[in-house]
């Protein structure tokens, strides 16, 4: 550990600060739902890719599972199984991974935007960490090709 170690209290998904108005809470709830739906689409994209290219299972499953953690942190309790339609998976494994990379890159940018819209500081913090995680996915998938 470097000098000042920080224990990071992770996400308290349902916490709202008392200073938040009802309107701000509603807006944060909507934001959580929206981002959770985007996470579900990412999970579906990974599932469809793994189904089509089983050889990618070991490489892609950790990323897929991290999106399930993101979704769970935003909207706890809901099934991690997405009910969304997966995008079409390209015909080769290389192209399929590249397509996931594009999704991760755009997700990482979208999470920064969502982070800017959050009212509750806890939600902004969560979205900042999720943005960082998805940028890592993009970098790791890029490094793998």
């Amino acid at each position: 550990m470097l000098g000042v170690a920080v224990a990071s209290p992770l996400l308290v998904a349902t916490a709202c600060s008392s200073s938040e108005s009802e309107e701000q809470q509603d807006s944060d709830d909507q934001l959580r739902e929206d981002v959770a739906a985007q996470e579900a689409r990412l999970i579906a994209a990974y599932d469809a890719t793994i189904l089509k290219f089983p050889a990618l299972t070991a490489q892609l499953t950790p990323f897929r599972d991290q999106h399930a953690e993101h979704k769970q942190a935003l909207v706890p309790g809901e099934s991690a199984t997405p009910t969304v339609t997966a995008p079409d998976v390209p015909g080769t494994a290389t192209a399929a991974v590249r397509a996931l990379r594009r999704l991760e890159k755009s997700a990482a940018g979208d999470r920064i935007e969502s982070c800017g819209k959050a009212n509750a500081p806890e939600l902004a913090r969560s979205l900042s960490l999720i943005a960082a995680s998805e940028a890592q996915h993009n970098a790791a998938l890029k490094g793998s090709q």
Binding site: M1, L2, G3, V6, C115, A124, A132, N138
Partner: protein
């Protein structure tokens, strides 16, 4: 100015000081492309350090100075230990930047979140595994 804002900026500054110190040790063990990567990371951490110092000063808050020495846990005496330290330093900074983001609004918030992304990505480029909630 809020207590939370100052405490988040201070923790991020202390993390950036530690990173700046660490990259001095890391660079000494590396060559070639890895050394260039360490130099570029060091530049970025120095810039963040300087801008955090300015932010704290602008708030009229105490601007802490860096420690003379930081404990790295294990001796940094090989490329492998240097790379492990780089991964750890970058990961530790991500939640600090998330705390800064949560204490800010508007462009300051998204800027802090992007700084956290940069650190998170460097951890992966150094060979660290991606994390659901980096840190």
């Amino acid at each position: 100015m809020s207590e939370q804002e100052i405490s988040a900026l201070t923790a991020a500054l202390e993390g950036e000081y530690a990173a700046t110190y660490a990259y001095g040790l890391i660079g000494a063990q590396l060559t070639g492309a890895q050394l260039l990567r360490a130099h570029s990371a060091l530049d970025s951490h120095r810039q963040h350090r300087d801008s955090l110092r300015q932010d704290l000063a602008a708030l009229g808050a105490l601007v802490p100075e860096p420690a003379a020495v930081y404990d790295t846990g294990v001796p940094i005496n090989s490329a492998a230990t240097a790379v492990s330290l780089a991964i750890e330093v970058e990961r530790q900074l991500v939640p600090r930047w998330a705390d800064v983001a949560s204490s800010q609004s508007g462009a300051n918030r998204t800027g802090a979140a992007k700084n956290g992304q940069e650190c998170a990505v460097r951890a992966v480029v150094w060979g660290g595994a991606p994390q659901a909630f980096p840190g």
